[in-house]
Subunit: 440 residues, 4 copies
Amino acid sequence: MSTKAETVVASPRADAPGWVSGSLSDRFRAMRSLTEALAAPLSDADATLQSMEDASPTKWHLAHTTWFWETFLLRDNTSDHHAYHEDWAFLFNSYYEAEGERIDRFARGMLSRPTLDEILAYRRHGTDAMGELCDREELAPLIELGIAHEQQHQELLLTDIKHALFQNPLGPAMWDRSEAAKAQPGEPKSRGWYEHLGGIALLGHDGDGFAYDNEGPRHRTILEPFALSKTLVTNGEWAEFIADGGYESVGLWLSDGWAWVKEYGIEAPLYWRDDEQFTLAGWEARDPAAPVTHISYFEADAFATWAGHRLPSEAEWEAIARGQRPEEERLAHDPMAGNQLDVPASDPSWQIPHPRVEAQGDGLFGNCWQFTGSAYLPYPRFRIADGAIGEYNGKFMSGQNVLRGASCATARGHSRPSYRNFFYPHQRWQFTGLRLAKDL
Amino acid sequence: MSTKAETVVASPRADAPGWVSGSLSDRFRAMRSLTEALAAPLSDADATLQSMEDASPTKWHLAHTTWFWETFLLRDNTSDHHAYHEDWAFLFNSYYEAEGERIDRFARGMLSRPTLDEILAYRRHGTDAMGELCDREELAPLIELGIAHEQQHQELLLTDIKHALFQNPLGPAMWDRSEAAKAQPGEPKSRGWYEHLGGIALLGHDGDGFAYDNEGPRHRTILEPFALSKTLVTNGEWAEFIADGGYESVGLWLSDGWAWVKEYGIEAPLYWRDDEQFTLAGWEARDPAAPVTHISYFEADAFATWAGHRLPSEAEWEAIARGQRPEEERLAHDPMAGNQLDVPASDPSWQIPHPRVEAQGDGLFGNCWQFTGSAYLPYPRFRIADGAIGEYNGKFMSGQNVLRGASCATARGHSRPSYRNFFYPHQRWQFTGLRLAKDL
Amino acid sequence: MSTKAETVVASPRADAPGWVSGSLSDRFRAMRSLTEALAAPLSDADATLQSMEDASPTKWHLAHTTWFWETFLLRDNTSDHHAYHEDWAFLFNSYYEAEGERIDRFARGMLSRPTLDEILAYRRHGTDAMGELCDREELAPLIELGIAHEQQHQELLLTDIKHALFQNPLGPAMWDRSEAAKAQPGEPKSRGWYEHLGGIALLGHDGDGFAYDNEGPRHRTILEPFALSKTLVTNGEWAEFIADGGYESVGLWLSDGWAWVKEYGIEAPLYWRDDEQFTLAGWEARDPAAPVTHISYFEADAFATWAGHRLPSEAEWEAIARGQRPEEERLAHDPMAGNQLDVPASDPSWQIPHPRVEAQGDGLFGNCWQFTGSAYLPYPRFRIADGAIGEYNGKFMSGQNVLRGASCATARGHSRPSYRNFFYPHQRWQFTGLRLAKDL
Amino acid sequence: MSTKAETVVASPRADAPGWVSGSLSDRFRAMRSLTEALAAPLSDADATLQSMEDASPTKWHLAHTTWFWETFLLRDNTSDHHAYHEDWAFLFNSYYEAEGERIDRFARGMLSRPTLDEILAYRRHGTDAMGELCDREELAPLIELGIAHEQQHQELLLTDIKHALFQNPLGPAMWDRSEAAKAQPGEPKSRGWYEHLGGIALLGHDGDGFAYDNEGPRHRTILEPFALSKTLVTNGEWAEFIADGGYESVGLWLSDGWAWVKEYGIEAPLYWRDDEQFTLAGWEARDPAAPVTHISYFEADAFATWAGHRLPSEAEWEAIARGQRPEEERLAHDPMAGNQLDVPASDPSWQIPHPRVEAQGDGLFGNCWQFTGSAYLPYPRFRIADGAIGEYNGKFMSGQNVLRGASCATARGHSRPSYRNFFYPHQRWQFTGLRLAKDL
């Protein structure tokens, strides 16, 4: 079991699009700019929308991520700190109970005030105030956490606004796609498999570079021989599943999944309509060769059963992601590679976040987060950290499933082989997809 | 039983503030301007908010009222008419089933697009297109209906945005109130009573001037001797009701009302907080002498029981409003008088819509709509009109209660003695108040 | 306007089936026996069932009616009274807030204990204890109220157990119907009309004989010329309504009614299945000539609109019921006549409660309660009585509609021309039906 | 890692109370009798109660378990088989989709018919019909499954009727407890710990004796050094948790758990009231030394956090249960030992199912099922069996947690070291308890 792949985290390819190497300070500023660039196409009204309790308005993401810096970095580490606006902590705290009362989650959509401009000014103030702190070495771990935190909200910002715009019968686009950039139906790849002989694997982050608390402690686990698909399940394969009565065949579904299908009348992935799907560029033709996305765990599991395969465990997924292998495969497993989120630009080569036929080969990262069959639970000897930061991950460890990889909306450089994303089994507004596994 | 008071409708006082006499065309344009003046303090984001299913965003009101002109006047009466935007009928139809499919009511709050500017352009286009039609005599009845319709939405616009801004913990103001204009605690008036000897009364609109279909046919009814309070119940009286355990005394409440109190933990009128209340100028001190407002039918009924009186019937209310009486009383019953909605202006004498100690004497109109004990039902021989316009009132005739008068948010000139407003017994986001009655 | 018909109340026909004239004591005992006779076909388990919050178990009806006698008669009027069982008041109080805490309404279905036998013993004890009180003249009004109260529960017992047995896929019968007694398809009667010339009518109970508080005070009202159908709408007519798309035509429905149809997928009266309907004798063929029953107010109103007619007001209905008319019509309006509830017996002529082609002519009473278009509201100068008895009717005066007449499950002698029954507009588990009206 | 303990399953102690060794036929008949003995104290009405959707009526359990034998054994293996009653499959199928339509789960409580007597006759018929089949060797595996299935329903029967009787304000007892048998406050045991040095453990059933499909395949897992408490958490310890503000301290709770506490106002285990708890013998004083029971996973997790420990994983629990150890400890781990369900009898030594201070030493089985921190998921290489039997366990593998051990309501002999029970994290109407673990 090699840990080589992980060194990638510490030394990203200098030429990776959208990746800023440089100093922590440079990376902090580049990350802040990316957040703002994502919000740039939106009006104050767009940025105020909240379409469901799971989602938040763009303005809230913009402000909350600034509140995070203010509360966990600036408050305790700058002299003469005073809150930018005394009432805003109430508005922009997310779930940190230790940080006091906060607005009802579903009332976030009522915040027409403060305005988008006021929030952007708040952001500039926060970014500037952080200036000097980025050079203080003892704060680096907390700053790395803040960067990772804001990158998570970049992805949520994109998936939340997509869900909000989808509610509008006009189907508005966040970005317009040039004719040239419109998807050309791709060639589906034939499925290949990464094989693993089983044995004792070392899993979890090993302390080199930043990682969330939930990625450790590093620990051993036993794997039986298995194989993991080199490709994600495609829209075309999903259409076959539907045509074969997948959504009407109770025998394919978990009991809770079937109840969900019946209650909500589910008959296709979220955002599907006839031969189209809703994207951040509005309604577009669906490419059968592109990876399917916006599916729930229930759907992923039912599809895998239908296909005669299964979901991988998170240990299996991570073992492949870390695996020692020939140079040509190394690249494919590079967590910096694949279809991930880069800086929006007028550059016509910039891609609106959307799963595409995988141009980059058989990498595990990019396009869609991939469901595993593993419940989101603490690793052996996991301990919740003290204080508000300790609320970060541990308290969500029930009822959710782990997803691995990275999506087209994940900031490039944010993920790694040990990264654990998690959602409830019915949720599907994220860029979620499916990579099959099988026993050997 | 005199019908004199009604002639007021046909000949409004020329000097009534905010009232445009002039031609139908002048009145149409003045009314349209008022709608836009009400929205003027709001940003695109403010105007996009929808706080509950009962309420609509400001933008929706602005567009829907234009859709109404487009659909019921312009479409059939202008040559070469084509829809301003082919998809907008779906967005801005309210409930006219005959006019086809429409957006889910609660999704109105997701309409960040079209923008406020685009909707204002739509309004200008609609107003201009109506230009020539205002002179066509045969269209006058439908245009009068359109004016009345849009005036209703002016009031809803105000009550809906008030409810939306209230959700914001910052308590934002729609208008800032100058120090000079801040409420000076008034002197409560001692309660006096209008007495009526009973007999056969003629009720309902008599065909002179515009009225809604639900105000007719004119018909006879029998009244027993009764009295109607000259004053509205005040905040101070309501505070006594609370202090006396009004919200905890099951014996005061209708069965459905008590269930509502328990389910929602009701313990004061909507918008009360300590000694303050939320207004269109933000949180302000509550004036004990001012009329109480934002109460439900359930609360009004419980208060009346507590006070040893009762709600008037709508027939009683209307009989007083129409009554022949000395000239000094005539004025007090003028439907053009009282605290009603006028044109917002930089003029410092303009009043932000809010109930105030009644400066205008003992009039029945203004400050608050007044609950009656009458269910909202058709008058004898009422017939629903054919076509989409027929959906206007008739289909709502179950489960609601009639309110009479006019509020501080009712466009001056909109109401009249026969006017029937109606809401469900639990609703209280309108400027609702209470005028007691008793048997003689 | 004659009040002659009302004397019927005071002097029921001696030969009316099931009617016990005799002394108050005799009537009390006969009434108590009828309650028990209705429960006789049921097992302890049957009698424990509660199928919805609106309904109560048979055992609960048996016990609650006894609790009523115990609480309002025996407790204060017998020496040395002590509660039969100290915990049972909590179980068997219905909604009398003044009488203290009570079991959650929907938990009534959990009362396997006390057993049916224990409750029948409680009944015997109560009936015996009442023995001497029936002769005390000053208690007669309260005893009349108690009799009327228990008769109401007789009807609820039948409609509630019908609803409970209907939930059982086996479709069990409460009574078996002999072959001979099975419905022979009847001949529908052609619709005739009672005409009324309008004028001032005197309505409400006039103090001669027992009546509920809500039937008074007697008061005048004005009627316009109208006609009331001599017959109830039939199953056959309803089938035409369905065939003509009645349940799919939004234009026929009140707005709240249409929402109800859509939410619950309503497409026929309750208890209909193909050509059958569920009865107290199980599933049976539906007779097209028999009155339709188990319809909601919403359905009744939509049907009337479809038929080009309307619902009568309660004043209209009562005016016809009281009208002076030839002797042959007199009988038809006899509140003792028609298909009403008599004492179950082995006598093969006894009829299982179910609407039948009207054998008794054109009477207003029997078969089904008839919806009026009137909201259930207090009559002019109505005052709620003091104490717990005052909770009887007044607190339900919001959101409900008045029904008039009597049904096949109403104890013969219980109803009268001034009787006001009331239910919410969506409820239809009672024997509700429809008698059309029209303007003249 | 020894597998010795498992041989216990194959050779139960001959003197275990309530255990019938003998032939399969003898065991089948004894098991059937036990089911009926459990229902013996109940009336038809008691046995008809359903208090919530999670629970079923006693009659349903009695019939469903017979339907299981009829459907999976008798139908295919007896000549001339015909259904006992053609409509009953619809009533008594639980969730086997492959076996066709079935009654809505919450409608089970409406089955007053068939009667308890009719269902007992159905049981006798089924038991007799099974007579010859018990000797057919090839059917033995399926018969073992049927026995295990019915034993599960024995436990559900007890927990479901307990929940139903609890709804009754009278607090009725299923069995009366003799004075002699009433709990004498015991002496709490001081907590000791079973220690484990970690390493590779073999888990899952090994094919010797009956086990459910979800207990296999046998597989290896890695354990870190840990300790498992010898005792269950007690009522007294739980009272300390409450006194210390356990239910008000958000920091102790999982996020979903805290939401559950707030929504339902949870402040103690189910069935607690002052110093009492509701038992199958009615309301009784609570013994501080007895194991706490009727707690949810959320509560168990919060308590463990408060106590500075954690829940064990199911692998840890099983490793201790299988551990090689001195003879005196062997007994303690005997799955036949401890407070489990035996045959009710007039024998005064028979114990009404209820957790008691552990008389049998430090065994892992008995008193309460014990929450683990493990999600209920398939073991590596688990495959769902074909056909209806395949629905048995696999389709429930999402959102639930594993419990291990056996409770006072588990038929003695039903459980084993590899046994996996599972419930949703909020459910607590089972006899659930808590055994702490810690890292070494």
